[in-house]
Symmetry: C2
Subunit: 268 residues, 2 copies
């Protein structure tokens, strides 16, 4: 099932991105390069599986799934810019600004962000609510990034704090949108959409704390991060109870995030 889902994501992304050679060619090439460079596609898989979890069809969530992956990839392009994290490599390849130049990277990110909404609006049900969910995440992720930037500059990095505003906004908000959009596009009930939002919030937080542990950095101490991963993964699993459809993939994600290997080498 997940292999089929993975193919559905790739096919939809390919359909939605500007065809190779579309004018202006360099920009469209940069857009395809960014989205096509081998991410785990976790967010679109959460989106499709949220549709299944409410008893709907994955097919109905394919545009929202592509939209959240496109939006996720715009954030990576802009985060890598010299004025931001100044990264030259991502997923073993040159970052977009390093390969295409800084102006093209700013513009490619901008174009992907706008395209994400264009694609989300194709949802077959509740298109306005789908777009609102993506809009909340799109604003949230930037607020989180800016908040983390201030914390890093203010020297709060590595200090023990209870405040995970940045993690909620920059990471969890995208998973929340992925789950909510999938459930909404598949016609899920308000109660089931709320269950999936809670699942995704908790999974997203566990994911960000686990990412800190894997990278050996982040805003929190190792002990804090370890206990937060366990706590949020458990809450994510609990939130799945009562859903009418198949939740096995979402369950496996929540178990994997709490396991020692995490998402290293993840492939469906």
């Amino acid at each position: 099932m997940t292999v089929e889902f993975s193919e559905l994501v790739e096919r939809t992304l390919d359909e939605c991105l500007p065809a190779a050679g579309t004018r202006p060619a360099a920009l469209c090439e940069a857009m395809r390069y960014a989205v096509g460079s081998g991410g785990k596609r976790l967010r679109p898989l959460v989106c499709l599986n949220a549709a299944i979890a409410v008893g709907g069809r994955a097919e109905d969530a394919r545009h929202p799934a592509a939209a959240i992956e496109i939006l996720h990839n715009y954030t990576l392009i802009h985060d890598d810019l010299p004025a931001m994290d100044n990264d030259v490599e991502r997923r073993g390849k040159p970052t977009v600004w390093k390969k295409f130049g800084e102006a093209e990277a700013i513009l490619a990110g901008d174009a992907l962000l706008a395209l994400a909404f264009r694609v989300a609006a194709k949802a077959p049900r509740n298109a306005d609510a789908v777009v609102e969910a993506l809009g909340d995440a799109g604003v949230g992720v930037v607020l989180g990034q800016a908040d983390e930037l201030s914390a890093m500059r203010g020297g709060a990095s590595g200090s023990a704090t209870d405040d995970d505003f940045a993690y909620r906004r920059k990471t969890a908000d995208l998973f929340v949108a992925a789950a909510a959009m999938g459930a909404l596009a598949a016609g899920g009930s308000a109660a089931d959409v709320a269950r999936l939002r809670e699942y995704a919030l908790r999974f997203g937080l566990a994911f960000q704390y686990a990412d800190d542990l894997a990278d050996g950095d982040g805003l929190f101490t190792r002990e804090t991060a370890e206990s937060r991963v366990a706590e949020h993964a458990e809450a994510a699993l609990a939130a799945l109870s009562g859903l009418p459809g198949d939740v096995s993939f979402l369950e496996s994600l929540a178990k994997r995030v709490a396991s020692p290997c995490g998402f290293r080498g993840f492939r469906v």
Copy 2:
């Protein structure tokens, strides 16, 4: 009437932007600074008047109107960046990156772009089509900017050419979205939406050529620009015929763009 419309735009923008002091404060201040710094508000006024032109209510187009102005202002923030036009002043004040820093300017632009879609989705009718129109413009404006960047770097600036791809995308597309969104949100017929798209395409092109003449630069010769302003302004006026509502404001814009003073000192 236009003064009331202007107040409706400012009130809606104020409601939709993050309240002063919202976390993270610097980013939200940068967002408000960018949108609040005294533009002509032409695009939102076109949007509200498109609602009137189809026989609808301006009030129904207030969120689309705010959305197009928010999107327009994100394009200005990113265009001014050092890696793009490297401008330090706009409308007599420091540009966003000059005042808040480069990273904050990238992020403030990103947040405004996402917010524009969040706001557009509040349209009381045809929200999915409203978002699609904004998405087309959001992608188009970036394609136009990237195309112009290539042309400038390739040395085509000032050369006589018939190719106004960049002008259609970077300028006219936003006016087309403004008109289409206003007409759709007010429940206009498909034929009337099409009339207003044609009006806005032609007005937007005339506006860009007139802007070149005023600034003494651009991709075209002075003679070409002058004849294009007249031709497109006339076509814009012609496109208004057959609309059921009041088109006097849209008419006045098309006349003004073709007049010697253009939009210098424009205030409603």
